[in-house]
């Protein structure tokens, strides 16, 4: 699977990038320090997962979530320990990680993403086929 990392804090992006590098099945395509640049990229590339810092100035992480295609999954990253309930308001959001992220917690998130992407594939296979006569 591939991913992008979006957040205005370079330290936070570096941490996620390092955690991804320890995970063989995920490739980081790019990093963005703002949501607008991320959307431009997402409009031109297929991305499986967005690691998204929800708390960004201007066009926020929530705004970005609302613009995403159904096929892209999102893992929110936050400093707020009491963020849990709001995190699952959108179907695309598969997990949320509280900073500072540990390697163990990150691996659990990768498992959740894998499961969500598997479900997405099954939905695709189960869709009604259009036949031309």
């Amino acid at each position: 699977m591939n991913c992008i990392i979006v957040g205005d804090e370079k330290t936070a992006r570096a941490i996620v990038s390092k955690l991804c590098s320890k995970t063989p099945k995920i490739e980081v395509l790019d990093e963005f320090d703002n949501a607008i640049e991320a959307i431009k990229f997402l409009n031109q590339h297929h991305v499986d997962v967005v690691f998204l810092d929800i708390h960004m100035p201007g066009f926020s992480g929530v705004d970005l979530v609302q613009t995403l295609k159904d096929t892209t999954k999102i893992v929110l990253i936050t400093s707020d320990t009491n963020f849990g309930i709001a995190a699952y308001e959108y179907e695309a959001i598969v997990d949320y990680l509280v900073k500072p992220i540990t390697a163990e917690r990150f691996q659990k998130s990768i498992q959740k993403i894998t499961n969500a992407l598997d479900k997405r594939s099954l939905k695709f296979l189960a869709r009604p086929m259009m036949c031309s006569v």
């Binding site: 370079k10 330290t11 941490i15 390092k18 320890k22 708390h55 400093s79 900073k99 500072p100 390697a103």
Partner: protein, 113 residues
């Protein structure tokens, strides 16, 4: 004991970064470089926001700084920041002096790593 007293007793360390790096010294150094570059800018934003009495902007940057306290295992400073962020949203900057002391502690640590 107040948040401030506890926060000043925090001993910043690189345990989290070392654990994350897992022996990758290049990453460790790269991360410290980022921290050295990013923290002073955020501190300046905070100082300016307080000087401008822009409490919303101050709360936003305190939110961001919280993460760095966590990275450096400054648990009490994190607790102080959680409360102070909310207070700033209500235009209450009474803990500014306390918070600046914590920032100075962190500044001193970061300059010496």
């Amino acid at each position: 004991m107040s948040h401030l007293k506890k926060s000043i007793m925090d001993k910043p360390n690189l345990d989290y970064i070392k654990q994350l790096a897992d022996g990758d010294t290049a990453f460790e150094q790269q991360f410290i470089t980022i921290l050295k570059a990013e923290f002073p800018k955020e501190k300046d934003v905070y100082v300016k926001a307080i000087a401008d009495q822009d409490w919303y902007e101050a709360s936003q940057i305190v939110h961001k700084l919280k993460h760095k306290f966590n990275i450096l295992s400054m648990e009490n400073a994190y607790a102080l920041a959680v409360d102070f962020e909310e207070e700033l949203k209500n235009s209450n900057e009474q803990r500014n002096t306390d918070f600046v002391q914590v920032l100075d502690l962190m500044d001193s640590f970061i300059k010496n790593i």
